[in-house]
């Protein structure tokens, strides 16, 4: 049984999705989702233990050899992502019941859980598979489920957001598949490890470079890299709160993982940064994200949109780590994926709790909420401090490694810019914090109670994790460092 | 402040100073620098220090006085 853990991770939520769709009633569907969430978390932990003990695991689907069949591969690079997905699924699903029930009509709740599990399936699949085309299929599974999930939002703008995301997501996926086609032509295989091996002797260097460009730009659209991020704010702002929590914590992270996978273990950092101006371009775009999107976040009047723009900025840090191309930068980028998932998960959960209580997440609604919902707002504040990168929070750890990476790469100006961009985060978080804790509650405002325990506990858990992993960096940074060592060992 | 009280205070202080001057001749000194072991040194130094402090404070006071309470 245990040797089938990789495929089970995909199969469990997949069948869970079918089951949730079949039962049709909210209660049982939630039970299925919860069970799947915890099962996935358990499997992820099991895989992490197995990989740390025995090295990479290769799982052949149906027993076919990698060059013919599809291979799942668990190694140091995707273990953090699998853990991220598993733990987020488990923690977030607890949050789901009350939040979903309050925002969706009863008839659609079961469908929503089915979509959620499908999306989870797709994301796990992307993280697990070692097959370029299989990754495309999983990408589309998760994307299609995501479009539908976003469209279930209460505001009619959710429909437009979902439509826009669908167009952009499909273009991105198609770019990706075009790129994979070029690689297939050049190497005759779809297995990522085999592609990596055969790229060296491939004759059609031009096809390889073209394939690389298509793959990178295609994934960049899913990552929401700066100029391609325009779909994200509306999608996050108008989706049901739980969908925002889940997507905000996982979706873009998995896309960034895919980017890491292609850049470092398929093409190799040397090739990517030499063949294309990737390094300079990526640094420029990442900085544009960190500054541009963060500045936009300062002026938002809807907190979900504010956090969504902040996500675009924060993703800039992850891609910045990739662009630096050295061990410290890469560690920073990877660890930021995990840390940002915690912080943004906690932040979106807290905002979801406000939506649950107040039915709105406009900025004005937060005035004086610190008195009414102290625990929720404390979690939001901690998450906000993490986004700024205050020492003692997880956000500081990732920025620390990024700054270290920038210094090692001989770019002290970049380290300064990283610090400077934190000031923008200080402004948008400060705006929120000032509103929450220092303003009085409007006199005519209705009384608000603290969020119910089901929403509060996961929120506080992620906020506590933000602090815990800011103080105890061994686990997260250890995972990221192990992955980095694996990549640089495997890079050509 | 009523001058009568002040006059009495000066008298009392003068008596105390005289008393201390007397006592200073009686106690055993453990000087660090020599001069500080002389009887009456403490009185002289204290008085001089007070004079210097007052002079300095008064001189500087004209420069640094700013006025009303600042209400920001």
């Amino acid at each position: 049984m245990r040797e089938h853990a990789p495929v089970l991770m995909v199969v469990v939520p997949l069948f869970g999705a079918v089951l949730a769709a079949l039962v049709r009633r909210p209660g049982p569907a939630f039970a299925v989702a919860l069970a799947c969430g915890f099962a996935v978390a358990a499997l992820a932990i099991d895989l992490a233990v197995a990989v740390s003990a025995g090295g990479p695991i290769s799982y052949r689907l149906g027993g076919w050899a990698p060059d013919v069949g599809i291979e799942y591969r668990v190694d140091a690079l995707n273990v953090p992502i699998l853990l991220l997905l598993g733990v987020t699924a488990a923690v977030a699903t607890v949050y789901a019941r009350r939040s979903v029930a309050s925002e969706l009509p009863v008839g659609r709740v079961a469908w929503f859980y089915a979509l959620y599990l499908l999306c989870l399936t797709g994301l796990i699949g992307i993280a697990l598979t070692n097959d370029a085309f299989n990754a495309f299929v999983f990408l589309e599974i998760s994307s299609l489920a995501t479009y539908a999930m976003i469209a279930l939002g209460r505001d009619r703008r959710a429909l437009v957001a979902a439509y826009q995301y669908l167009i952009i997501g499909t273009i991105g996926a198609t770019f990706y598949v075009i790129g994979v086609g070029f690689l297939f032509l050049a190497t005759g295989t779809l297995n990522l490890s085999l592609i990596a091996e055969r790229l060296g002797e491939a004759e059609a260097a031009r096809a390889v470079v073209t394939g690389l460009a298509f793959v990178l730009v295609g994934i960049a659209m899913k990552v929401a890299l700066f100029p391609l991020h325009l779909w994200l704010p509306n999608a996050y702002a108008y989706a049901p709160s739980f969908a925002t929590v889940f997507l905000g914590a996982t979706a873009t992270k998995v896309a960034v993982y895919l980017l890491f996978r292609y850049v470092f273990s398929v093409f190799g950092a040397a090739f990517v940064f030499e063949a294309l101006p990737t390094g300079a371009l990526l640094i420029a775009l990442s900085l544009a994200a960190a500054f541009g999107a963060s500045t936009v976040a300062i002026f938002q009047s809807d907190v979900k949109r504010l956090l969504a723009y902040s996500s675009v900025g924060q993703i800039g840090y992850a891609t910045l780590g990739l662009a630096l191309g050295n061990a410290a930068g890469l560690t920073g980028g990877l660890v930021h994926l995990l840390n940002h998932a915690m912080m943004k998960g906690a932040a979106f959960m807290a905002v979801g709790a406000v939506v649950f209580r107040l039915g709105t997440c406009r900025l004005e609604a937060f005035a004086g909420l610190g008195r009414a919902m102290p625990a929720t707002m404390a979690a939001l504040t901690v998450a906000g401090l993490g986004l700024i990168g205050v020492p003692g929070t997880a956000g500081f750890v990732s920025k620390w490694y990024l700054i270290k990476g920038a210094l090692e790469a001989g770019m002290p100006w970049l380290a300064l810019l990283i610090v400077a961009s934190s000031i923008l985060a200080l402004l948008y978080v400060g705006r929120l914090v000032e509103l929450i804790w220092l303003r009085p509650r409007p006199a005519d405002a209705a009384p608000v109670a603290e969020a119910p325990l089901e929403l509060l506990l996961p929120t506080l858990a992620l906020a506590a994790a933000t602090i815990w992993f800011g103080l105890d960096t061994r686990f997260t940074a250890g995972l990221a460092q192990a992955a980095t060592v694996g990549l640089f060992g495997g890079a050509r | 402040m009523i001058p009568a009280i002040l006059r009495r205070a000066v008298l009392v202080l003068a008596a105390v100073v005289a008393l201390l001057l007397g006592a200073d001749f009686l106690v055993a000194h453990h000087p660090y620098f020599g001069i500080d072991g002389l009887p009456g040194f403490a009185l002289a130094f204290g008085g001089l220090a007070a004079l210097a402090t007052l002079a300095l404070g008064a001189a500087a006071g004209r420069l640094i006085a700013r006025g009303a309470f600042d209400d920001d």
Binding site: L276 | H29, T53
Partner: protein, 556 residues
């Protein structure tokens, strides 16, 4: 197990809980946290514990030695007394901020390496700024925040430069380059309120709430003194800075009309004395500096409590207004009197004990300049803390019926006053616990006569020269006047140009800034180019352009 628990921990936890809890639960948790911290300070064994690996650094959160324990005890006592005193304060932010502030102070004291030390100093800045902020004077809080952000940046930069080689022990500072040492020294001096960085002390402390000022008077400056003992023992520049600070403190304290400003300036002056001792650098001098810090924390905290009672009763504390309070608030007045006498180093108070130790240490080291200045400063302190306030007192009835504050505010004052006197009466009880100072004889006839003679002569001089008695002013110009009333406004006045020039220029600058902000909002706001909704087509176009650009760059 206990050796791994920093005394900062219960206070920091208490700060977190104070945010979440309300009412009696919050009071109970706050007091329990302070008690736990004091207990830990007294019970921790004399060695390193609590090592943590963090980002590749080896952090030591608990390192106990006599100096750490002495400062720790002072801070924990001040924290406990301050928290009990502040139980009547209903501002929830201030409670949490005070606990954070106290926790950071203890964290600094028990830090065993440079990184932990710096981190706690940053926390200290955050906590103290919040305490000032919760006093309600926003502009003062922002000025305070700016100064401490600057000091924090200096410290971080210095710590980073000193540990560039990967060694983050305190010893690494001694071998660090001049840049690293200079940055660290400057950061600590700003925090200590040494001249010329003293302006922030008397700017911020009198503007805190009646309860917040107690914490402020205890922690920041003394934590910086502790830092200097740790990092810069025997640094000769400290004697110069200390001397200037002593003079500054005396001049300003003699000219202020406000009780809490006077207490703030006297903090600065006493810190100056400590700096001179640290700069002298012998083991005894360092111990004496620590002892003076301990005594000063104790009596200054209780004076701030008493001043807080007056502030609370009448809103402001001009020195002259103490008169009417003498009869209606007898305990407050008595505490204030004991504090003022301790400040001047009158025998049988804690101030006499620590000043005797300082005098002995400086004398044995042959540091004549520091010793004579210390002695002179006793006279000066007596002038500004006792004689001048007595002369300024106005008689007459109070505007409204007044009484001593409630028992929860009175009890800590009285206990601290008792402690001040107890140390004064039985110096050996405290001196015997500090290595090296046990041999100092304090209550000998020659010491007593010496100190009394200095004070009496000073008082007589003031009485005889009362014609020049300094009326003082409510607020005093300081270094910060240079930027608070911009230099060019002063220049414009000198040049005889109307001040309107300044006003017009300021309006122009404000307009430019406002336009810039509006422009930023046009670009980034909800309707701006970067923030608005874009049609799907343009998103697709930007993707195509990015792809095209990438390919084009790849082929050229």
């Amino acid at each position: 197990m206990i050796e791994a628990v920093s005394p900062a921990l219960p206070l920091l936890l208490g700060a977190a809980l104070a945010v979440l809890l309300r009412g009696r639960a919050r009071d109970a948790v706050s007091v329990a946290a302070a008690v736990a911290a004091l207990g830990l300070v007294l019970l921790l064994p004399d060695r390193e514990g609590g090592r943590i690996g963090w980002l590749g650094f080896r952090l030591v959160t608990v390192a106990v030695d006599p100096a750490a324990r002495l400062f720790g005890a002072a801070f924990a006592i001040a924290a406990l007394a301050g928290i009990v005193h502040a139980l009547a304060q209903r501002n929830p932010l201030e409670r949490a901020a005070a606990l954070l502030y106290a926790g950071a102070a203890l964290g600094i004291v028990f830090a065993g390496d440079l990184v932990t030390f710096t981190i706690f100093f940053e926390l200290l800045a955050v906590g103290s700024t919040l305490v000032v902020w919760s006093g309600g004077r926003r502009a003062a809080a922002l000025r305070y925040a700016a100064v401490h952000a600057f000091a924090g940046a200096l410290l971080i930069a210095g710590a980073a430069a000193a540990s560039a080689g990967g060694v983050t022990t305190f010893a690494a500072v001694a071998e660090a380059g001049p840049l690293a040492r200079g940055l660290l020294l400057a950061g600590l001096l700003v925090n200590a309120g040494a001249f010329p960085f003293s302006f922030w002390v008397a700017d911020a402390y009198p503007k805190a709430s009646w309860s917040g000022a107690v914490f402020l008077s205890a922690f920041t400056t003394k934590a910086a003194v502790y830092g200097l003992i740790r990092l810069f023992p025997g640094e000769s520049a400290l004697v110069v800075f200390g001397a200037a600070t002593v003079v500054y403190g005396a001049i300003y304290a003699l000219n202020t009309r406000d009780l809490r400003a006077l207490l703030s300036y006297s903090i600065v002056g006493q810190v100056g004395i400590m700096l001179m001792a640290v700069g002298t650098g012998s083991a005894l001098a360092l111990a004496a500096a620590a002892l003076h810090a301990f005594a000063h924390v104790v009596y200054k905290a209780m004076m701030m409590m008493a001043a807080g009672g007056l502030v609370d009763a009448q809103g402001r504390t001009p020195l002259g207004a103490i008169g009417p309070f003498r009869r209606s608030m007898p305990v407050t007045a008595l505490v204030l009197a004991i504090g003022a006498l301790a400040l001047s180093g009158l025998p049988l108070t804690a101030g006499f004990v620590s000043k005797s130790a300082l005098s002995a240490a400086l004398g044995k080291e042959g540091a004549a300049f520091a010793w004579f200045l210390l002695t002179a400063s006793s006279a000066a302190t007596f002038l500004y803390a006792v004689c001048r306030p007595l002369l300024l007192i106005e008689t007459g009835a109070a505007a409204r019926p007044l009484a001593d504050p409630s028992p929860s505010r009175l009890a800590p004052m009285v206990l601290l006053a008792a402690l001040t006197l107890a140390i004064g009466f039985v110096p050996a009880a405290l001196l015997g616990r500090i290595p090296g100072t046990g041999a100092i004889a304090v209550l000998t006839p020659d010491h007593i006569v010496f100190q009394l003679a200095v004070l009496a002569a000073a008082a007589l001089v003031l009485l005889l020269a009362r014609a020049v008695i300094l009326p003082g002013a409510a607020t005093l110009h300081d270094i910060d006047s240079l930027w608070r009333t911009p230099l060019w406004r002063v220049v414009a006045r000198w040049l005889g140009r109307p001040v309107a020039t300044y006003g017009r220029a300021r309006a122009g600058v404000v307009a430019v800034l406002r336009n810039a902000l509006a422009g930023l909002e046009r670009q980034h706001g909800p309707q701006g180019a970067l923030g608005r909704n874009w049609p799907t087509g343009s998103m697709a176009l930007s993707a195509a352009i990015l792809l095209g650009a990438t390919l084009l760059l790849a082929y050229i």
